[in-house]
């Protein structure tokens, strides 16, 4: 095992560490950006669920036509379907 080989290993490890933490930062930034976009779309009053109200987190507060229609159905069901 010569000295040069060990140095090469060390350089490679340094490069790998730099790439690893760089990638980690990139993934964190991507996650943050996706979260921020979600909040922006909600703030702008856009449907983030593509009109599918099932399981939507903001369904109760949503005033979009599809949500209002779904709420009407739910209210009718609450009155025994009348």
């Amino acid at each position: 095992m010569n000295k040069r080989f060990l140095q090469m290993q060390s350089r490679r490890q340094l490069l790998a560490a730099a790439l690893r933490y760089g990638t980690l930062g990139l993934l964190g930034a991507a996650g943050g950006a996706a979260f921020a976009r979600r909040r922006r779309l909600l703030r702008e009053g856009k449907c983030i669920n593509h009109g599918v109200c099932r399981g939507c987190e903001v369904f109760e507060a949503c005033g979009l036509p599809q949500a209002l229609s779904a709420k009407q159905v739910l209210a009718r069901m609450g009155n025994g379907g009348k």
Partner: protein, 443 residues
């Protein structure tokens, strides 16, 4: 350890049993969101077709799934790197198959999440659900630190294939490298189709999803059965040659902080582990390179570096030229084609889509203009995805000209699926276990 395996399998069975029996409490007894919005009664007698994808789950259960994913990844990493127990890894594999596969019906999965991420990058008005984002990110973060522990025992697609590896045969290196290219092409195509809003092909052509749903088209069932049959002889064919998420994990695993080691101690080069890996992921120590071979390789490397931009550009050009074919996956393009055929008298019958379009009263010119925009998107997508494939081919060729020096038998950082099969082949491992048992006995 056997007790631990029983606990894992028992938990999986309970989780599977509760939803069907309407269990006493907990996850399964809570109504699903599907029950909140029953379908309307159609007076015309129309019957809703049975869905091919699972009903969306309430948000809280998506977070439960995310927590389970995190726990499974943490446990898998611990078992692979610390406990080094193949049995425990196998038990976790079975749990993941039942939980993420049969109970959650394979959806959401990190593999399919690639498409949501691609769509969110190219569509400003699309927001990725948080659970999907976490499903995509968590395995990547774990891979950066612990290697492919997600593939080892958490991925349900990997688990179902791992259980059928019965008579593994080794695949020659040249064939393995060639077949692996398909996964890169598949990734490029999946990203392009998702980014253009055309289709989520990874989900559509998932060979095992029919098993998890216990329903599906005959073609997909046959495809899944073929993968499982081939998997008896060639370990995990989908993971190695098709999985687009595996492509990303391979690259991240190269720079992972910790990695699977065949031996817990210094390698004694006994060669017992040499043929233990059914995935061909064990690399032998390298011999010194003869001088003439070294010089020849240097020249070849220089040539390949010069070839890189040529390959990238030519593959990108081919990708863009495929635009008329690839864009037909988009529903609007297919509609425009049908309308064109009807307008020119080449099609005698209308389709549901064309009749619905005409009923809207929208101008055909507007439709054609839309199609031009979509095709322009496919042109750019073709350049990017083709260029990516060209880059991969060039880098693969360059990789063949670069040799890494190895002094021991090592698990290939990129290709190792961390299944732990090689552990029990190492005599050093046996000696260590024996010592540990003796120490426990004495205490």
């Amino acid at each position: 350890m056997i007790r631990f395996a029983y606990i894992i399998i028992g938990t999986a069975v309970l989780l599977l049993w509760f939803p069907q029996s309407g269990g006493p409490s907990g996850i399964a007894s809570v109504p699903t969101v599907g029950e909140r919005f029953p379908p309307p009664d159609f007076e015309s007698g129309y019957e809703l077709p049975s869905p091919t994808t699972p009903a969306p789950r309430q948000s809280v259960y998506e977070y439960v799934d995310t927590v389970v994913l995190f726990a499974a990844l943490a446990l898998s990493s611990y078992l692979v790197l610390r406990t080094r127990s193949r049995r425990a890894i196998l038990a976790l594999c079975v749990f993941s198959l039942f939980y993420f596969g049969f109970w959650r019906k394979g959806c959401v999965c990190p593999i399919g999440a690639i498409q949501n991420i691609a769509l969110s990058i190219f569509d400003r008005d699309y927001a990725v659900p948080i659970a999907v984002m976490l499903f995509f990110l968590l395995p990547l973060v774990f891979t950066l630190f612990f290697g492919r522990t997600f593939c080892a025992a958490v991925c349900p697609l990997g688990a179902i294939q791992d259980l059928v590896v019965l008579r593994p045969v080794s695949v020659p290196e040249w064939l393995e490298s060639g077949l692996r290219l398909f996964a890169y092409v598949y990734l490029a195509a999946a990203v392009m189709f998702a980014a253009t809003g055309s289709a989520f092909i990874i989900c559509r052509y998932d060979p095992f999803i029919s098993f998890f749903h216990l329903s599906g088209s005959l073609n997909m069932l046959i495809l899944g059965a073929c993968f499982l049959f081939v998997g008896i002889f060639i370990g995990r064919p989908y993971c190695r040659f098709v999985c687009p998420y595996g492509v990303i994990l391979r690259q991240l695993s190269r720079i992972s902080k910790w990695q699977v080691a065949i031996t817990p101690d210094e390698c004694i080069k006994c060669r017992l582990c040499e043929d233990s890996c059914p995935f061909g992921a064990i690399r032998a120590p390298t011999a010194d390179w003869p001088a003439y071979d070294y010089n020849k390789s240097k020249k070849r490397l220089a040539f390949l570096i010069l070839l890189l931009p040529v390959l990238v550009l030519s593959c990108g050009w081919i990708g863009s030229r495929l635009r008329p074919v690839t864009s037909r996956v988009h529903a609007t393009v297919r509609l425009a084609d049908q309308i064109y055929l009807e307008e020119t008298g080449q099609a005698e019958e209308t389709t549901d889509a064309s009749a619905a379009f005409r009923a809207t009263g929208k101008e055909i010119k507007v439709l054609y203009a839309e199609v031009e925009d979509i095709q322009a998107g496919f042109g750019l997508g073709g350049w990017l995805s083709g260029g990516f494939v060209g880059l991969v081919i060039a880098l693969k060729l360059i990789g063949l000209s670069c040799r890494r020096r190895r002094t021991d038998y090592e698990a290939d950082r990129a290709g190792c699926l961390a299944c732990g099969r090689c552990f029990e082949y190492c005599p050093k491992e046996h000696a260590k276990l024996k010592e540990a048992k003796q120490a426990i006995g004495e205490s």
